[in-house]
């Protein structure tokens, strides 16, 4: 499987006044500093003993400053810890290190891949924009409600006396929730609530759930409503 090839990365090291060299980033950690126990030793008093390091975590490389006296910059900005991307320039004193990453050859597959069995996150993918949403409203024909018409803007629109009900029943014995009109994708459907004694659509009893069509007459808990689709709106 060519798209699982591990990414390889290199560091182009340009030491001030010493020309350049290339280092393959094969280790999990590449330490940089003045002391000789570092992988990359830079003999310069402006460089701290243990100045910075590059750590590889799965397929991603990170640059960390190890609380150095003079600091570490990435693309001109001081950092304490930052992810490395291709062509990033690390500056330590007057020395420059260019991070070069070879992305896996397959172009069809999004990188990075770590392990096919493991869940991997692919960031920054385009999100499919939602299509235009159908909107609808109900008109109150008869019964006690706090308004005469209600736009159905929510996914779940409760008809009842409870707080948060979209179609607010104000009759004395109105149930907290009489019925629910739900939008799912491009369609609306109505279903009776537990407290509902009856729910009629165009005079027919609704037991489970029924899809609503433009002009449908709804009768529930002492109110009569007309369902209207508002076409052409977004």
């Amino acid at each position: 499987m060519p798209d699982t090839l591990p990414q390889s990365a290199k560091l182009l090291v340009k030491l001030h006044g010493k020309g350049s060299q290339q280092i393959e980033l094969t280790l999990e950690t590449l330490t940089i500093g003045r002391k000789t126990d570092n992988v990359l030793v830079i003999e310069d008093p402006a460089v701290s003993g243990h100045h910075a390091r590059i750590v590889k975590i799965q397929a991603v490389f990170f640059l960390e400053d190890l609380k150095s006296t003079n600091g570490t910059s990435l693309n001109g900005r001081p950092i304490t810890r930052h992810q490395l991307r291709d062509a990033d320039v690390i500056t330590i004193g007057q020395h420059r290190l260019v991070f070069q990453e070879n992305v896996a050859p397959s172009t069809a597959a999004p990188a990075p891949f770590v392990d096919l069995d493991r869940t991997t996150v692919l960031r920054g993918t385009d999100r499919t924009p939602d299509g235009p949403t159908l909107t609808a409203k109900v008109l109150v024909i008869a019964g006690k409600t706090d308004r005469v018409e209600y736009p159905l803007t929510k996914q779940v629109n409760v008809i009842g006396s409870q707080d948060g009900a979209v179609i607010r029943l104000t009759g004395w014995f109105a149930p907290k929730s009489a019925a629910i009109i739900a939008r799912r994708g491009q369609s609306y459907s109505i279903s009776p609530s537990r407290e509902a004694k009856y729910l009629l659509v165009n005079g027919t009893d609704v037991v489970g759930q029924q899809e609503l069509k433009d002009g449908d007459q709804i009768e529930v808990a002492g109110v009569k409503l007309t369902f209207c689709i508002l076409s052409g709106t977004k």
Partner: protein
């Protein structure tokens, strides 16, 4: 009434899945963590803890600030659930910078908040929620995964998506970035409905029709969750598997009973 079970599977060294089933809060969550070493477990554990804590606090204090933007198409309760998930995102993201081996850790989340006859669902990633009603099973979540997005765009078929070696790539996850796009859905539910929240360990190997066969059967809820886990392991057990099954009849009655008790206690 509910039953929840989580299993490491046959091939993984750890179980990075975590779940919550908290009937008094009406909260059910499944998280499938990812990251090197034990980072995946840390991420999923942080997520469930942050989500539960935020919702419990919101129950006590109505003025608890809502994190993130408010979605006018869903109820305040659903917005509270999304807020809890954003808090979790922040907790994981901050923790991920505390140790080198935590970098990049994240988790999927599917969370259901049940109140009376309305179910709010929030999800990020490829953990799913199924509704089982009148002998039919329907997924109420759309995976945030590369293959699903390709399928929705019509580039690949459902069959190709199921076989794709890239099924493991999620396009959204909790904790990976400093903000997260939470998908919120709200639906009416009723007595007799069943919910199944699960990690992809179940859905990779077990077809929804086979899940329906178990959940539509006469078994007790714990026997059903055992059976689903066994089926995932029979299909290879490549991944951790977590299932949370909620049978709505008893939950609604329990909710009523709790409210009655509170009424008399007051």
């Amino acid at each position: 009434m509910h039953s929840a079970k989580s299993d490491t599977g046959l091939k993984r060294p750890h179980n990075e899945d975590r779940f919550v089933a908290d009937p008094p809060l009406g909260l059910y969550v499944v998280c499938d963590g990812m990251g090197g070493g034990n980072a995946g477990e840390i991420a999923s554990a942080l997520a469930i803890e942050a989500i539960r804590t935020h919702l419990a606090e919101a129950d006590q204090r109505a003025d608890l600030p809502l994190i993130g933007s408010c979605d006018a198409t869903v109820s305040p309760r659903a917005n509270r659930l999304a807020s809890a998930i954003r808090v979790a995102n922040d907790a994981i993201h901050r923790e991920s910078w505390s140790r080198p081996d935590y970098v990049g850790m994240g988790t999927t989340v599917v969370a259901a908040l049940l109140h009376d006859e309305v179910l709010a669902i929030a999800h990020v990633g490829d953990s799913r929620l199924y509704l089982i009603r009148n002998g039919a099973i329907q997924s109420l979540t759309t995976d945030h995964s590369w293959v699903t997005e390709q399928m929705l765009k019509g580039f690949i078929t459902e069959e190709e998506a199921e076989r794709s070696p890239r099924r493991n790539i999620v396009t959204r996850a909790l904790g990976v970035e400093n903000s997260v796009d939470v998908e919120l859905t709200e639906v009416p539910v009723k007595s007799g409905d069943m919910l199944l929240l699960c990690s992809d360990g179940l859905t990779r190997g077990v077809h929804p029709n086979d899940i329906l066969h178990i959940l539509g059967g006469p078994d007790s809820l714990p026997a059903m969750s055992d059976r689903l886990i066994a089926m995932a392991n029979e299909a290879g057990g490549d991944d951790n598997t977590t299932v949370v099954i909620v049978a709505l009849r008893d939950d609604l009655q329990a909710g009523l009973w709790e409210r009655l008790k509170k009424l008399f206690a007051a």
